[in-house]
């Protein structure tokens, strides 16, 4: 925030919550950042009329007076992109909450315009270009070990071209120091630094979009097997309060095979941010021996923080995600919750007295949602590396009613829908993802990957499991009306196996030390062994052995806790289970053979 045009005749004309009207000058442009009032509160231009400009203010407006000055900055709301982002916690407009705490204490004070990235910190910079190189946007000019896990690639900003005329030596530099000078076609000399700015509402460019082909592996069984999300894909998690949206976000942030996590706490609880920060700092990635915070950035705009900055937080987060994607990383962005963001839109729209569409939400809600989710994708970057952004957004429908506008409109733009079911949460079946109502449109494109990387029968079991659960649901309708007795033995067996699938396989307690994460290969073997039991039991039933006899064996009970048995990581556990099933089968088979 350097080049401020100090001369300004613009002044505050009216104040209504975070929305102010400005008169006296119309020398503003849309989405321009402005300083409001004597305390220089940060705001953004959201509407311009011939004599009135409307600004949304990112800080609390209490105490502002009509007549106070409004100063244009000439810049759009932008993020600072450079080393020092990883491991940090920013608010919705990228103010560094940790420096702010050091400087102004526990409570957030107003008008504290701090730079997002520490301007005084020196970074060890390794130069990757030399004089005479011809460069374009996206080219990597230097690398910096940003954290133990992340090599930061300093890139030429998009849209900049030229020939290198000066390069500094490898060494330690601050973010605002010039490290490369280039001369463009018009003979203008452009300094390049470790840091660049980017307007948050504008997607960063890439060369081209690719088809998604690989899953984002999450270690959560119901997601990886039933409803997988692709790297570069989008997913929404709708669910009433307490159904587990935040937990799924935390789990994916912790366990998914992403290089970078952008975690946006948007209009949610303060303690949840504290929790992420504490837990992620403690969690050490076993492969890399470094804390998860080293690859995570948190954007925290809790429910009690100013609503305009909640609106901005989503864009701040996605712009940062795109920047790391441009370096060739696979980024997962968590937005908890997009509904709070939509509510911020509604709140501001209401204060702007715009014509509302459904339930008071502005008519542009769908297009804003689309713009956000469209920024996900698997791409070839300007520098020919590959990178991706996967977006996972929580949706908190009012009253848990999925017909409301945010859920419905989100559904149009995402391709995985992980529905959280209140009844499951009430029964403490976690994750409370409804296996009948959820879907993933990626399952077909990912079939190949699963076939090649895991096993060609993966999808067979997956389909079989889903079918069994559908059958169970139909049978349960009947049982509810007339009891279980009328069912045939094959049907009763379906109920038994479905129970094993639900409890033994789909349930996964995030707090359980060993079951919180499971590699896909093990997930596959689990499916395989459960299905093996089913096939064997079917054979026994086909031999007219009553189901009641089958159930006398403890094998079904044991399979209910199969996840813990498998989770224990004991060698040869699957062979053991197979043998148990064989024994169970042989014993019964033989007994009945003898009888006959």
């Amino acid at each position: 925030m350097n080049s401020v045009q100090e001369v300004s005749k613009a002044y505050i004309y009216s104040i209504n919550g975070p929305v102010i009207h400005v008169k006296g000058s119309s020398d503003f442009h849309m989405n321009e950042m402005v300083f409001v009032g004597k305390e220089k509160l940060l705001g953004e231009v959201v509407s311009i009329d011939y004599d009135t400009t409307i600004v949304q203010v990112y800080e609390v407006t209490t105490g502002l007076m009509v007549g106070e000055p409004v100063i244009a900055t000439g810049k759009n709301l932008s993020v600072y992109l450079g080393p020092g982002i990883m491991g940090k916690v920013f608010d919705g407009i990228q103010r560094p909450l940790d420096y702010m705490e050091q400087k102004s204490g526990t409570f957030i004070t107003r008008g504290l315009n701090m730079e997002a990235l520490n301007p005084d910190k020196k970074w060890d910079v390794h130069m990757t270009v030399k004089e005479g190189d011809s460069l374009h946007g996206g080219n990597v000019i230097a690398t910096v070990q940003e954290t133990a896990l992340i090599i930061h690639k300093v890139m030429v900003p998009p849209g900049v071209f030229g020939e290198v005329i000066e390069v500094v030596q490898d060494g330690s530099y601050k973010i605002h120091q010039t490290i490369v000078k280039i001369r463009d076609k018009k003979d203008t000399i452009l300094p390049l630094k470790l840091v660049q700015q980017w307007p948050v509402r504008l997607p960063r460019p890439y060369n081209n979009r690719q088809m998604v082909t690989r899953p984002l592996v999450t270690g959560q069984r119901i997601i990886d097997t039933f409803f997988p999300i692709a790297k570069g894909g989008t997913a929404a998690i709708p669910g009433g309060f307490g159904t587990g949206k935040t937990m799924i976000h935390h789990q994916l942030a912790k366990w998914s095979d992403s290089d970078i996590i952008v975690y946006i706490g948007c209009g949610e609880r303060g303690n949840e941010i504290t929790e992420v920060l504490e837990e992620f700092s403690k969690l050490i990635d076993p492969k890399l021996g470094s804390s998860l915070m080293d690859r995570t950035v948190i954007i925290a705009n809790t429910s009690n923080m100013p609503v305009a900055s909640r609106e901005a937080s989503i864009y701040t987060g996605i712009a940062i995600a795109e920047y790391y994607r441009d370096m060739g990383y696979h980024v997962a962005l968590m937005a908890d919750s997009t509904s709070c963001w939509a509510e911020a839109l509604r709140e501001i729209s209401g204060r702007l007295e715009e014509m509302p569409a459904e339930e008071g939400f502005p008519a542009y809600l769908p297009s804003r949602l689309a713009q956000f989710y469209e920024r996900a994708g698997y791409v070839t970057n300007l520098n020919d590396t590959e990178g991706s952004i996967s977006i996972i957004g929580a949706v908190s429908p009012q009253g848990g009613d999925f017909s409301e506008p945010v859920t419905q409109n989100t559904k149009r733009f995402i391709r995985c829908f992980w529905v959280l079911e209140r009844e499951l949460a009430y029964s403490r079946h976690y994750p409370a993802i409804d296996w009948l109502g959820s879907y993933s449109e990626y399952s077909e494109v990912l079939r190949k990957w699963y076939g090649e990387q895991i096993d060609k029968r993966f999808y067979e079991y997956r389909t079989a499991f889903i079918t069994l659960l559908q059958q169970e649901s139909k049978l349960m309708e009947m049982v509810k009306l007339i009891g279980e007795e009328v069912l045939a033995d094959e049907q009763k067996l379906i109920l038994q196996i479905a129970k094993v699938i639900r409890i033994g396989f789909l349930q996964q307690d995030a707090y359980h030390k060993r079951d919180t994460y499971m590699p896909i290969t093990k997930q596959y073997k689990m499916m395989e062994v459960i299905y093996y039991l089913y096939e064997k039991a079917q054979k026994l039933i086909a031999k007219n052995i009553p189901i009641s006899v089958l159930l006398k064996s403890l094998i079904f009970k044991e399979m209910l806790s199969i996840k813990y048995i498998v989770g224990s990581g004991r060698e040869g556990i699957f062979e053991e289970l197979h043998k148990k099933i064989d024994d169970f089968y042989d014993e019964l088979y033989k007994a009945y053979e003898d009888m006959e």
Partner: protein, 465 residues
Amino acid sequence: MQLEYIGLQKINGPLVVLEGVKRAHYEEVVEITMDNHEKRMGRIIELIGDTAVIEVFKGTAGISLKNTTTKLTGHSLEIALSKEILGRIFDGRARPIDGLGSVYPEAKWDINGSIINPIGREYPRHYIQTGISVIDGLISLIKGQKLPIFSAEGLAHHALAVQIVHQAKLAKQEGTHFAVVFAAMGVTHDVAAYFRNSFEKSGILDRMVMFLNTANDPVVERIVTPRYALTTAEYLAFEHDMQVLVILTDMTSYAEALREISSSKGEIPSKKGFPGYLYSDLASIYERSGMLKQKKGSVTQIPILTMPNDDITHPIPDLTGYITEGQIVLDKKLHQKGIYPPINIRPSLSRLMKDGIGEGFTREDHPDVANQLFVSYADVQQIQALAEVIGEDALSETAKSYMAFGKAFEQELVMQHEDENRTLMETLDIAWKLLRLLPREELDRIDKLLLDKYYIAHKGETQNE
């Protein structure tokens, strides 16, 4: 010299409009004097050029366009604070109603509070024992948590609040006792009196502060009452290192007041006529709780709300649930069965419980036992439904044991007397007694080692495994 403005340009519900105002601050407090010398305070809620929209705390009855003079005070709403505030009783706008005169201020704080930087928070982990089994065992309250009670008319939520206040005790003896800040919004005089008498009887009046806005007090005041209360709580917690428990009742009246003012302003409503900013507004109350790294004190909130039509999806409970760290839900059916406290554990939840219980906090078996009780009680519901179809006699032996468990759970664990104060060990013992009604193989949420230790079968059959 302060300017005085004569007359008003418009009056609408609790709002008045004043034109020609100079140098007014957004949300500044104004003082309106009527020609009978009565003074009313108001707050600027919108400024447009030289026009100010003002909400008048005592309402606009008796105010005309001509009979007032209005003065700006130059500050936002503040409360006078000192440690002497303990033991005092105020109305909804922090004016003493106990006849003891005003508080000599050591500090004056803005009632809107400041936003806590999430970095400055400390994650809450200290278990509070309420002596109520179902809460301590299954929906544990943690110091610094915001855990509301979702109730409905006539469901003993007042008695429950009193019991919690009376019995709440920190497991680890930091400080001695809780200081209690109690705020009533729109409650009847009877209810206000009930609370006052109960607190008096339990001898805790001298460590509590009460703010009472009763049903016939002005609606606008209801908007500020919880903010006076929370500012007081923050002062005691963060200036005087106290552990403070805040009871806010009834948040439904609060939200309805907000709706009334919003509609006077002609704002575009969202669901059920509530303003679009209800979520943010409720958050600005509920988020004022927690623990801070730099301070020894804490603010724990137990807001109470009545669900209109017992409907948990109504915007007030719904938005509350999205903000608070769980909820304790009272249930009419349990109440009708004569069970006190009528807490239904299925929709109830304490989000902070997991980090504040178990080994090192309460007892090693606590998390598994809680988990198992939740799951088994959920199974009971299914089996009950089945029993209604095929008759209880036709149930399998295991199913029958669930029926017995379900009944005992409600009768022995949930039900307790209004002044019965159980230790956590007693609660867990009851829990094990109930779990023993079920076959050991059914208890799949409990670690095997814990089962070996605690599931001592009373008839001895399951021991020799």
